[in-house]
Every structure is written in C-alpha cells, then in structure tokens.
C-alpha cells in the first residue's frame, strides 16, 4: 500500500486528464471511487483533501463510477448548477455550482448508504485507540462532528466522521478515511482548537446545511486506511451550552435502541443486523455524554479509553 501512487503525486495536468477522461481511481477504505468531473474547483480541492490517498491502478476493480457535472442549457449561464451523477442518473437535486466539494462528499456517502448492504452501516463518527473503536452515533446537530474533529486533533485515529461500517463476519469496524466535514459555528471552534496544524481546504456558504467546511483527514488515518478496529466504546454525545463535560452510564438495551435509531440498514439485514449490533453493544462500554468545552471532553475520553475493554 505504501508504495502505491497517491493523488498528491499527480501533476495538475495528470489529475485534470484523469478527471476529464476515464476517471480518477481514488481508494478510500475498502472502496475505489472512479471520479469524473470538469469542475476547476475540484482540481484544487481534491489534492488538498485527498492528497495522501492511494490511487488504484487500471487493473483494479472500482466500486462506483461517479461524476460531478454542470447542468446544461440555460442553467450554464444563469445561477449555474451542478449534479452528482452515477451511471448517468442523479440520485438527488442539483446544487449551486460552487458546491462541488459538498456534493461530491454527499454523493460518495450516498453510494455507501445506498449500496454497501454487506455491512451494517450506522450514522456515526468512529475513532480508534489501541485497536479499539470509539463510536459516536448521533443525528445531525448533536455536536458529534465537532467532538470527532477535536478528538482526531488530539491523537485519536479517524476511521470515519460520518459512517460506522461494521463487518458482520468479524464484528470489526472498517476505516473509511475521508474529508472531515464541519458546519457553521463548529468551523471556527475547531479552527481555534486545532491551531496552525489545521487548514480547511474548502468552505462553502449557503448550502442546504448552512456553511460547510472540509479539511483533510490526518496522515495516519489515511496511511492506516485498511487497519480495522474491534469494538471499544459507544458514546452518545450531546452538546449542551454551558454544561460541564460528563459521562453517564446507560444500559446495553438503551445503547442498542440508540444505535438502531441511527442505523441505515439495520432492518434490511434482519437477523444478521440484530446479531451484529447485539455483539457490538455486548463488547462495548456504553455511555451518554454531554459537553460544551472541547478540552474537558478530550480529557474525559482519555480517561474512558483507559477502562478495560467492554467494561459495563
């Protein structure tokens, strides 16, 4: 893997040729995306976000053929729009033309949530320490992404900031290292928290979710992109303004229900879904968490990571 060509190795001309031609074959986690686009903004954003990611050669299977394309006709001139396309179809509505990075990121997530049904897929951020996974499941607005960004800036390895991927055969979590996304006020909060080591490669205002920023995953997240993690901790975060950071116990049954509410394909997987999730909850330490200050939060997670695996 380490010898593989990375996106950052490509000259701007080679990157442009791949994006315009047969597709940029980007490997992230277990998948290869063949990406095509003629958008100039992606020529600068992709190396900034995915520069360290390996590229798959022409003889390797690519899982998804995706494209970001400009709407044609009058739309080319008046408030131009872009589409995310897969096989000539667009799974969701077009967006304004400056939203190339968000639409590509959302589209890649859509590929996984819509098709990766050999895995149990949850809406959650996942980080790793000592071979064990910290799963932060939570709906949008809970402060999950901010917390995830803070933890990965303090030494936790990022597996994914958006999707927990659990292999039913082994119960392990698969890394899917991608651009890390933050919204609105979180962008400045994390910029202040991360200091000089953090550069947002793309910030887009006025999306359907407000202002959306993306920064590159840390180098170790990409370099260890095929290193899986066993179950460790399941923590349901909640941002409560002005609160002191605190972890509180929850039963495994409550954790299971919480995970089901954040699952994409639990029902689809039937018995396998139940078994996989039950095993995951059984092997994990489950907690609720509320916080407002990131330093306190990071400290509590350091302490939590010292508990023996699966402690009740």
């Amino acid at each position: 893997m380490s010898a593989a060509l990375t996106l950052g190795d490509l000259s701007p001309q080679a990157l442009d040729a791949a994006l315009r031609g047969p597709g940029l074959r980007l490997r992230t986690g277990p998948w290869v995306f063949a990406i095509r686009s003629r958008l100039p903004q992606l020529l600068t954003a992709l190396p900034a976000l995915y520069g360290r990611h390996p590229l798959a050669d022409d003889n390797t299977f690519a899982d998804f053929h995706v494209e970001v394309i400009r709407a044609t006709g009058l739309r080319r001139y008046i408030r131009p729009q872009i589409y995310f396309g897969i096989g000539g179809e667009s799974p969701f509505s077009p967006l304004p033309a400056d939203q190339g990075v968000p639409i590509l990121e959302w589209g890649m997530n859509w590929c996984i949530t819509g098709h990766a049904h050999h895995l149990l897929v949850l809406h959650a951020a996942v980080l790793e320490r000592n071979g064990r996974a910290l799963i932060l499941p939570a709906p949008s607005g809970s402060g999950k992404s901010t917390l995830c960004a803070a933890l990965l800036l303090r030494g936790w390895r990022l597996l994914s900031d958006e999707l927990a991927l659990i292999d039913p055969a082994t119960g392990q979590l698969l890394p899917f290292p991608r651009a890390v996304s933050l919204k609105n006020a979180s962008i400045e909060v994390i910029q202040a928290f991360g200091g000089d080591q953090l550069q947002f490669a793309s910030v887009v205002r006025d999306t359907v979710k407000g202002t959306v920023g993306h920064f590159a995953p840390p180098p170790d997240a990409v370099e260890r992109g095929d290193e899986r993690a066993g179950p460790g901790w399941i923590v349901f975060p909640k941002y409560v303004a002005g609160s002191a950071a605190s972890l509180s116990p929850m039963t495994r049954g409550q954790a299971m229900i919480g995970l089901i509410e954040n699952a994409f394909n639990y029902n689809l997987l039937h018995r396998t879904g139940f078994q996989t999730m039950a095993n995951l909850v059984q092997a994990s330490t489950c907690r609720r968490f509320q916080y407002s200050r990131l330093d306190e939060a990071v400290q509590l997670f350091d302490e939590l990571s010292c508990l023996p695996p699966g402690a009740a």
Binding site: P22, F61, A116, A263
Partner: protein, 379 residues
C-alpha cells in the same frame, strides 16, 4: 467476448452477464467492474448474485465485487421476506370476500416459488381481482390499513374510467404499496384481454385462503403484455430476464410443447403482439433457446409485417437495456421517445390520448416543485 475496459463503450454488460451466467466465475475483478456498475443500475445485480450462490460459485468471485453481490443478496432477501409478509396480510384482509385474489409478477414469482424469483427485486405488490369485486376489495384493504395515496381527482377519474388498475394504495404503518388490478391491460386498448379467463385458471397458493398465482403460461403472457405496452421501460432488461427465466423453466417442464401452448393462449387473451416481441427479445438479448420458427409463427399470428417488425426490433433493442450512460447505443433517446409515444397510442384512442396528455402537461407545468435535499442520516 468478455468485459474489457479497453473495449469501446456501448456494450450492455448487465445483459451480457445475464446471458453468460456460466462464464461469471472465471471473470477477474477488473472485468467485474463494468458488470457491477451496470447490473446495479439495471436492478439485476441480485439476480447474478443469486444465480452464483445457487451454483455454489459465489466464492469464485474476487473479493471486491463479491462484496457488492453479497449486499445485493441481502437486499433481495429483505424484499422477499417483506413480500411474504405482505402476502399474508393481503390474504387476511380479503379472505372473507370469497373471491380469488391473484398475486402478479414479482410477488407471485416469490410466493409461488417460480424460477423468476431468483434474486428478483421489486417495490410494490400487485394483485388481480374480479372487476365486480373492486369496491369490496378496496374496502377490505382500507379496513386493514391501506389507503389511497393519490388524492388528485383527475387521476382518480382517469384510473377508474380508463385503466386496468386503481391508483396505488399505501399502508399506513408499514409504508408498503399495493397495486390493485382488475385487468392486465388498460380497458382502452383495442382488444382488451378477458381477465376472467386468467382468474378462472389461476392456482390457489398453498397455505393461503384466497391468494392465487396465474398459471406459468399466463405469467409469461402477463409479463410480456405489461412490458410491451408500458411507457416506463426503466426495468426493461430485468423484465426480459424474468421472461428468460420463466421460459427456460417452462421448457424444462414441458419441452417443446410449451410453444404451441403459449401461441394459442396468447390468441385467447388477445396478447399476440406482446408474445411475438417477448419471444424475440428473450432470444435476441439473452439467448433464450426460443426456436426461430416459433418467433416467425408468433409474428404471423400477431399480423406484424416484415418492415414494421424490423423497425420495432431496432427500437426495442435500444430500450430494453441497461439505462447506464456507458451502455448507450446510438438512437437510444429517439427509440425511448418513440416507444413512449407508442405505449400511449396503444393505450388509448388518439383523441382521448390528446386530452389526457394535455391535462397531464398542464398539471405538471402548474404543480409546485418538491424540494429535495441530499440524503444524510438514516431515513
């Protein structure tokens, strides 16, 4: 010929895979790429997966494409479980009426254990009931939680007066959809079939009180009638694959005796035209062993002249294929439009059609646009 990324586009690799199931275990990962990408779009990936599983060959597939096949198998398994459950609910809701209720197409294939159940994906349940039982059936379904989903008075009127089905009904708590048919083709076609013939020979499904399935011959003819009158051909290749599976099963059961049976039953049901194109499509697109003389007979029986036939086959070849940008043939857009117009032409006399299309166009122009947001978070 095997999938090769260096070959020019315009090959429908999903159709190739369906016609070359025996060759699938030998393919490399890179050869699978075009098949997975296109078969997913054509809704036949689960069928390829189910065939490989049945043949004990799933492990021969390289790991990366195999993950997609396993995912597709999980989707099919979930849908099949849901179909069985819906069938039980429908049976319970309608058994007091004492009329036969026939499951149609995908759900019938699954519940009757037909060959075409293999890896079949679908979205709703279709049933066929006697026309004079429409009101009690609708009432029975409503009592069990299904409600009409279409509240547009023009659409309601249109369906009830001219179509062979009522607008789809959705279940209040399960979110499933049922399409209630009282015929297999719109009442406005020139010679509508007699649906009573289908129900009279339908077979009771073991374990159910009122659910039936059509005979294997009628299943073939219904699927063909549906496909070759339809204005929405987005599942065209999958439907041809169903027909391929059904015909191969009949051939295995009855041998060559199945062909005269299909020809004569098509006459009785007034579906000679769909039978002719259906047999041609299976042979031409998926290599189904339909003898040439049977296709010639079917064409003659449908009264289709040579020039007309050649033109129509040119059109069908362009539309009954994977709707993937890399699988497009020249003239595909034109063919799609021509067959859309044809479907409406077959469906209704021209004046009624003109009236219907102008009302629909006006409604589309004046309707508010629904907002759509890229999916994030579980549905």
């Amino acid at each position: 010929m095997t999938p090769d990324p260096r070959l020019p586009p315009h090959t429908d690799w999903a159709a190739w895979a369906l016609a070359h199931l025996q060759d699938l275990p030998a393919l490399t990962g890179r050869q699978w790429e075009l098949i997975v990408v296109q078969a997913r779009q054509a809704d036949v990936l689960a069928r390829l997966a189910a065939w490989l599983q049945q043949a004990g060959q799933l492990d021969a597939v390289p790991q990366a494409p195999r993950a997609h096949l396993l995912g597709a198998l999980n989707v099919a398994a979930a849908q099949h479980a849901e179909v069985w459950q819906e069938a039980r609910y429908i049976d319970a809701a309608l058994q007091h009426l004492g009329v036969p209720v026939a499951l149609l197409k995908g759900s019938a294939y699954v519940v009757s254990g037909s060959a075409a159940a293999l890896g079949r994906l679908f979205s709703d349940t279709d049933i066929l009931i006697p026309k004079d039982s429409l009101s009690p059936v609708e009432r029975g379904l409503m009592m069990a939680g299904w409600l009409g989903t279409n509240h547009d008075s023009y659409d309601q009127h249109y369906y009830r007066q001219w179509m062979h089905e009522i607008p789809p009904m959705g279940h209040l708590s399960r979110g499933t959809t049922i399409d209630v048919h009282h015929n297999i083709l719109p009442l406005t076609v020139r010679r509508p079939p007699d649906a009573a013939l289908l129900l009279a020979s339908a077979r009771a499904l073991p374990g159910f009180a009122c659910l039936h399935s059509l005979t294997p011959t009628d299943q073939v003819l219904h699927s063909m009638a549906h496909l070759f009158h339809n204005d929405d051909l987005s599942h065209g290749l999958r439907d041809v694959s169903d027909l391929d599976m059904l015909l191969r099963a009949q051939l295995a059961d009855q041998g060559a005796a199945c062909w005269p049976g299909l020809l004569s039953r098509a006459q009785a049901l007034h579906v000679e035209m769909p039978l002719a194109y259906g047999l041609w499509a299976c042979q031409a697109l998926l290599g189904t062993p339909v003898p040439d003389e049977v296709i010639t007979q079917a064409r003659a029986q449908a009264g289709i002249g040579r020039v007309h036939w050649a033109a129509m086959c040119w059109l069908w070849r362009r539309v009954l294929r994977t709707a993937h940008s890399q699988a497009r043939l020249g003239g595909q857009g034109l063919a799609g439009f021509a067959l859309y117009v044809r479907a409406h032409w077959l469906r209704m006399p021209p004046l009624l059609l003109a009236r219907h299309l102008s009302i629909k166009a006006w409604k589309r122009l004046t309707a508010p646009k629904p907002a759509a947001v890229p999916g994030q978070g579980p549905a």
